[in-house]
Amino acid sequence: MLGHISVTISSLNIALLAPMAIISFGALAIICIDLFSKNLNKSFYVMLSLLFILLDFTTLIGLHGSSRGFFNVMLVDGISVLSQGIILITSALFIVLALSNKPFMEFKKAEYYALFLFMLVGFQFMVATDNLILIFLGLETASLSLYTLIAMHNRNKAFEAAIKYFTMGALAAGFFAMASLIFYALTGSVELSVISKVLEARNYAPGVAILAGVVFMLTALAFKLSVVPTHTWTPDVYEGSSAPLAGYMSVVPKIAGLVVAIRFFDIFLHADIVWVQNVLIFLAIITMFLANITALVQEDVKRMLAFSSIAHAGFVLTALMIGNTQANSAIFLYWILFMFTNMGAFTMLWMARHRKNLWDSRYQHPFTKFSGLVKVSPMMATIMGIFMFTLAGMPPFSVFWGKLYLISAVVDSGHVWLAVIMVINSAIAVYYYMKLIVYMFLKDPITEDGNIYVANSSTPIKVVVGIALVFTITASIFVEPILGIVTQLMKSSGL
């Protein structure tokens, strides 16, 4: 029999739930509005979603300090606030891209926006707890919405992508459930903080069970982070989804996964369990190398960017293994900087979206499509060139500073050899980014008609590109404040 439980409202700490509640309300509101009034323009839904995201964001920045609520299920600490912030900013940029010039079926449907907001709720819950069950719920809510969003693009490739992602995601969910089960069986709790204490008290025995649990969890997270060898879905899914969604997927689910990974592996890294560290290093290295080398031979820009995003994930994975404040701050600094540039690059592809595959029967954005772009549309070529050089880590653009701080964290932890591997990888990576630049700047144009490259562009899309571009170029100024905030939040969450 359960004893008497006294619950006071203040102990529930309802404020922690406010951001998710607002978004959920928004999603439900959109569904209700759709019931009463059909034929609303997509701009209405976009702006309504944007409003809810902004509202969410403002309540979010009101939260500070580590606080728990709802019987310790919710945990809103620095890392959680930060990752929710990243998720919301990315979402705000993403949803605006629906206002494209060309009509797309999915954007006309209210469900699209409702699902999108539900996905946000899922991701926010995923990072705002250390309870494995709630993480699982968040993960599944977000993933199921995401699969549907992909499929709503309504192309054969999109269906393929959605099903592929779904199958892989289901597998990952299974692994996650297995891992939770093992840790529950071992410690009698599904809260990471309790698990950590119990394991520590028991001196991390029995080893076999922990090994099994870590392996299951690692595999589950690896699917979400698209770490080699569980990365195979990534290029196909990105290719099948619309460009903005692909850009979104390379940022948001990964940051959510990274937060869970940071929380989870912190248990083992604090205890200096060497094999966990070694496994992470190994995964990071093969992820970087395989993704970079595979990216070299891609013929489609979107697929190239897919592999590039895998490589970037491998890059930050190196910092995950270090697990101190500098490394964790580096992860977030890197991801914030990467987010803007990456969204910018995918948005450029979105602008160049055309109904037919004009240049290649197989690919939507083959490299040849961009031949001689500088002569047809110099502005667009220059912007795309800057994004490419930035992704390659050329100074002084945004990602360079993230790379700098990340490698510095690796060097400071005494893994100089790993830092060398990282820079070798960035030297490999520069080749495939440069390939697009070579096509754009050094080859002769294949068409005189510049409109093809901006067929899908509209003022809101240009604004998004502008924001990403300004941030990318002037990142040198923003790095100082961002790093300050990130470091402070990391310290406050004790990571």
């Binding site: 400071d412 820079v423 960035s426 440069m434 070579v438 050094l442 790093l483």
Partner: protein, 508 residues
Amino acid sequence: MEHILSIIVFFPLVAVFFGFVISKESIKTFGITVAVVEFLLSIVLWIGFDTSNAGFQFVEYFPLISQFGVSYYLGVDGISLFLVILSTFMTLISLIGLNIKKDIKNLVITILFLEMTLVGVFLSLDMILFYIFWELSLIPMLYIIGAWGSGQRVYAAIKFFLYTFAGSALMLVGILYLGYQYFLATGTWSFSVPDWHLLVLPFNMQLWLFGAFFLAFAVKVPMFPFHTWLPYAHGQAPTIGSVLLAAVMLKMGTYAFIRFSLPLFPDASYYFLYPVATIAIIMVIYAAMVAYAQEDMKQVIAYSSISHMGIIIIGTFAMNAEGLTGAIFLMLSHGIVSGALFMLVGVIYDRRHTKMINEFGGLATVMPRYAAIFGVMMMAAVGLPLTIGFVGEFLSLLGFYRVSWLMTLFAGTGIILGAVYMLVLFKKAFFGKVTKDENAELKDLDKREFTALIPLVALVVILGVYPKPILSTIDMSVKKMINLMEKKALLPSTKEFLIRVNHTGGKK
């Protein structure tokens, strides 16, 4: 004069943004005007430069990322002053000589952007800032070679880019590692070079770091065996690209050796002295022999560049005032001479659309003025006394003589070989009878080409006869740097060596 260094660095960048608005017909004049202003600014810098102060002058500093120690830190001393002037001067000359019509707007904008990065490299005193400019300079050159080059231009451009980018990857780790060492030693982060100069590093660490930096600089110089990108790049690059590449960009590597490798890692520099000198001698002799075998005029000059860069390395690693001052002076003279030679080849290429030596012959009778200027430049390249080329080469070798007479002897043969290939080239192309009908009607230099080349000829002679004002300014900062090396040297053998090469043999 408060912010003159920032003005010099960012004036071309601002001009780049304005350049986008200017129409195609006027862009060349705009480019020349900007380059003239920039050149005058660098002359103003020289005038304002205090020749009795060996330290960094006109220093500008403000923290960029304070908690990570990255700062915006500029300064100039005797070592970098003339390299800055060389950059602005050669940019101006090459813009005057420019006669490309295709996409001229993009080209001029790119050149101005390149000028910004070149000047930035020489003026940065913060390692991260230096790295930023160092990497950024690759982008405009990639575009210049790739878009306006000939033949396998894209391949050459990518090869150039990848070589240099990959080479400097390790340097980045080295920089971050050194920053961390500084953090461990002092408790604060800093990437500023004067701060790092205070850092005394253990010998083993010096060896590794020297290696990491060496690779980046060696690719840029380019040192044997990393030189293979250079002939390709020169072969395909348009004239203006070759001029700026040979005259200024190669100097970034040798400058970095003097600025960073020697004072930061004195013991490692001594430890690696003989291997590096051996590589340099191989460069000198091997490149000279390869140059002799070339049939393409531009390739001859490209390989001769490698050969001369070898002598600069030798002078640098002599680690005494004569050698280092000579090396820096040779950078300047090689900048002027190789720039001029590439322009001269460009002149003939514009007329005949070929650079093959055997296509020519008897040019001296058809184009006397062209032949005369070519002759002067050739003499300077060979290192004839009273030309600019002699001073630097002589001082570099004199400096190294104190280290090892035998190696100096080998390096000296490079000069003889240099005379061989240059004179052979001159003989084949300019003397004898006019064998091809196409050559009989060639026009001599026009006004534009004359304007570009005459200042170079004047400098070759003037600085060849009276190099003292430049040498004394360089010498002062070099001596300060050698003092620093001596103070920082950990091992007794390094100290002994530095004292030996700097003070013995002599009257001091």
